[in-house]
Subunit: 313 residues, 2 copies
């Protein structure tokens, strides 16, 4: 499909691999299920399959790249690879990119850094989909923050979007006719609500941690603008379409990290009594790894309707 | 008082200045009100007034320091200063410290970096005071994360602890006989609660963003351990006293940051209708700056009982 859309082989394979890996890891919303939207974006000209990212500024540790509206997955993989190379040489690096596109699952690039033995931190902006704290209208992107740490027994990867529940997750609850387990946004009367349908209608999702997630979403967008000089959530939203995004990839590399201390931290958390009988306490990324192993032995579950849709494309 | 406790003049002045500045900025819990606790910690031997922090490992960009249990404020100021110097030379830096002590208000060191024209990111660990997501027992520190960005019209400084409400804030609500405005933790029956007294009793504060703040608190502790090799929240908690903490100070410096884009982001957020009539939408650090200006013209409000207590010391 991507080859038909003028992707070259390398680019097509890299993008297809990430979509498939996202489904394998259980992030269905940014795996197969998102592929038709991605194809639409290529057809509509928001994603340029021929574009190559270009380094436009460098000083040895920090670089600024221009994504020239190429595929977000491709650009992000290249930027994180570049950050890894720079960090392995110099201990630290920061690669910013402007005019890129949706990178799908942020965690992808965290796992990439950790696979290379680096601590990876990355974040992206997005079209406004969440009101700032104290406001009614969407002004903040759901700007995910990823922090990844390499570990022999399985990397620790925090992949945290800034709303308490994503719109995709709320839709899942709505389709099942269920309420959200915690407050997720405001209803039409301006009350805090657990009703996914009501929140999806008002588009007033609650930031994770309320004023805290609101502040974090704003400052991530500010960091992206400052370092990369690209479009902020304000400009993306003004354009009316979610394209031309800004991203940042930070790596730290040290040969002699105090790795033995990490398992002590995890063990301490797991030593707590669980809230529910038989409940679990997980480190960030633990469920992803469990799902990945399950997919690798049992196959990757797909939504049949979506699968049929992709086959028909 | 500090001179009497064997602080030298420089160290005494630096610590006193930070306590006073924290009160000036409205962070009373870590200003004057905290001073008696700090003095207790010196008297009990948890804080060594004679200790000097020492660089024990360096590679040009990343350094590891040992705080030798000196005053947390002093050590943190020195480490952030060191990170600023390194970043101004090399664009990026990361200074980790082990065996330090409570740094009081994290924001202090964010403002310090921004005053020097740097983007500053810093975080600390703490004694366990919050259950991990899915757990009942305190296993996570309230590990605050600070992200600071320099700006001519006033820096942008996010200073975010990992629980939705600090125990200090909950105590304030309890003393006023008020409920929390949002869920803040669990009561004795294991229900999510807005009752500050009930939550303070169970010591089951809710992480900001629920599973998200829980994961963020854990991964910050992991980063601190990996980079600095010091005590994790597990070891601090095991010791029974909150001392010997780990901290990390990251700076980024670039002469030509795209500063003009920052005000565009702030303006966009402020352009939203407010939830309450006459309500406000603030950027991180805006309220601090307003409070600082007010204190500078009108004086710093102090709790009379606490003031009398300090005068009697």
């Amino acid at each position: 499909m991507l080859l038909q859309l003028s992707f070259n082989e390398k680019k097509a394979e890299m993008c297809a691999d990430v979509f498939a890996s996202n489904s394998r890891d259980g992030v269905y919303s940014h795996g197969l299920n998102r592929f038709p939207v991605f194809v639409e974006q290529v057809k509509n000209g928001f994603v340029d399959p021929l574009a190559e990212p270009e380094c436009i500024e460098q000083n040895g540790l920090m670089e600024t790249w221009d994504g020239h509206l190429g595929p977000g997955i491709y650009n992000a993989k290249i930027c994180m690879d570049r950050a890894i190379v720079l960090a392995k040489k110099n201990a630290m690096s920061c690669v910013s990119i402007r005019n890129s596109n949706h990178w799908m699952r942020g965690g992808t690039y965290g796992w990439q850094a950790a696979d290379a033995g680096c601590i990876g931190i990355c974040f992206t902006n997005a079209i406004a989909g969440m009101p700032p704290w104290g406001g009614k209208d969407p002004r903040l992107g759901n700007n995910p923050l990823v922090i990844a740490v390499p570990r022999k027994e399985g990397h620790i990867v925090l992949d945290m979007a800034m709303s308490q529940f994503s719109y995709g997750k709320m839709q899942e609850y709505e389709l099942k006719g269920k309420q959200l387990p915690f407050a997720g946004g405001y209803d039409r009367e301006g009350n805090i609500s657990t009703d996914p349908a009501a929140i999806r209608q008002t588009k007033r999702a609650l930031p994770a941690g309320l004023w805290k997630g609101s502040g974090l979403a704003m400052i991530l967008d500010i960091l992206l603008a400052l370092l990369g000089g690209g479009k902020s959530t304000a400009k993306i939203t003004e354009s009316g379409n979610e394209y031309g995004l800004s991203q940042c990839f930070i790596c730290l590399y040290k040969e002699d990290l105090y790795e033995y201390l990490v398992n002590e931290i995890i063990a301490f958390s797991k030593s707590s009594a669980t809230l529910e009988p038989g409940g679990d306490i997980a480190y960030p990324g633990e469920h992803t790894l469990m799902r990945r192993k399950k997919s690798e032995t049992e196959g990757i579950p797909v939504d049949e309707t979506m699968w049929a849709k992709v086959l028909r494309m």
